[in-house]
C-alpha cells in the first residue's frame, strides 16, 4: 500500500549553465534564464510504500511531516534554489535536478520501516516531475 502526502513550498531559481554561452542559455531556457531569476509555488508529493502496521498506518503522519519539514521544507521554502541549497551547487536547479536532490535529502535521515517510493514535484499546475525511487 502507498500513502501520498502533499507539501508546499515557495522558492526562486534561475536556469543557466556555465557549459553554454549567454546566447545559448537564453535560447535553451527562455524566460527561465532571465538574469535575476523568478519563483514558483512548488507542490511536493511524497509517497511512502509498505505494509500497514498495528496502528493501522503505513507511516506516522507527524513523524513523516517532521522529517519533510526538517530535511526539505525548512531548507527550500522562501529560498533561492541557486544560492541557498548547498546540495544543488554546481547543478542547474531544474525541477528534475531538484527531485533527485530532495530524494537524497529525505533518504539521508529516512528511518521508517516503510520505504520512500516516489517524489513528485509540480513546478506549476502545468508541469509535474515524478521520480520513482529504487
Amino acid at each position: 500500500m502507498r500513502l501520498t502526502r502533499r507539501y508546499r513550498f515557495a522558492a526562486s531559481h534561475r536556469l543557466n549553465t556555465e557549459a553554454l554561452t549567454t546566447e545559448e542559455n537564453a535560447r535553451l531556457y527562455g524566460k527561465c534564464n532571465n538574469p535575476f531569476g523568478h519563483g514558483h509555488d512548488y507542490i511536493l508529493d511524497v509517497s511512502v510504500e509498505g505494509p500497514v502496521d498495528a496502528s493501522g498506518q503505513i507511516v506516522e503522519r507527524q513523524a513523516l511531516d517532521a522529517l519533510v519539514e526538517q530535511q526539505v521544507l525548512s531548507r527550500v521554502d522562501h529560498r533561492n534554489l541557486n544560492c541557498d541549497l548547498a546540495e544543488l551547487k554546481g547543478q542547474v536547479p531544474t525541477t528534475e535536478n531538484l527531485a533527485f536532490t530532495i530524494e537524497a535529502m529525505l533518504q539521508r535521515q529516512w528511518t521508517f520501516p516503510a520505504r520512500l517510493a516516489r517524489v513528485r514535484i509540480s513546478e506549476t499546475a502545468r508541469n509535474t516531475f515524478e521520480l520513482e525511487t529504487k
Binding site: 500500500m1 502507498r2 500513502l3 501520498t4 502526502r5 502533499r6 500497514v52 496502528s55 498506518q57 507527524q62
Partner: protein, 137 residues
Amino acid sequence: MLLTRKAEFSASHVCRNPALSEEQNRALYGVNANPHGHGHNYVLEVTIEGEPDPVTGMVFDLRELKEIINAEVVNPMDHRFLNHEVPPFDRTIPTTENIAVEIWKRLENRIALPNARLQNVRLYETTDLYVDFGGER
C-alpha cells in the same frame, strides 16, 4: 485499459487505540486522536482494469459501478461516525489505510467480470493526503 470512477462521502472518525495511553495515542495519531472525533470530505477513486466488451464497447457499466459504490461505500458511510456506525470500525481504527482496505474488500467481489477487475482504490482523506491500495499482492 484503466477506468476510474470518483465518489465522495463525508464522515467523522477518531483514531485512538483504547489499549494505549493518552500520550501514546497522541504520539501515534496526533490531532486525529482527539477523543470526540472530527470529520473529512473523503474522496474515493475506484479504478478498474480490463478490456472493453466487444459487444457493449465498455470495460464496465458505469451506471452499475456507480450503484455498487453507492451501495457498498457511500450509503453506509456518508454522514456517519465511522467508529460508532460502520463496522468494522468499532474494532478497527479508521485510519485512511484501514478505510481503503475495507472499501477494497467491499468492492472486490462485486467488480469481477471475465474482462474486468478492481485494480486500485485511492482514498483521499484531504487534498493533501491519500492512500492507494491494490489488494494484497
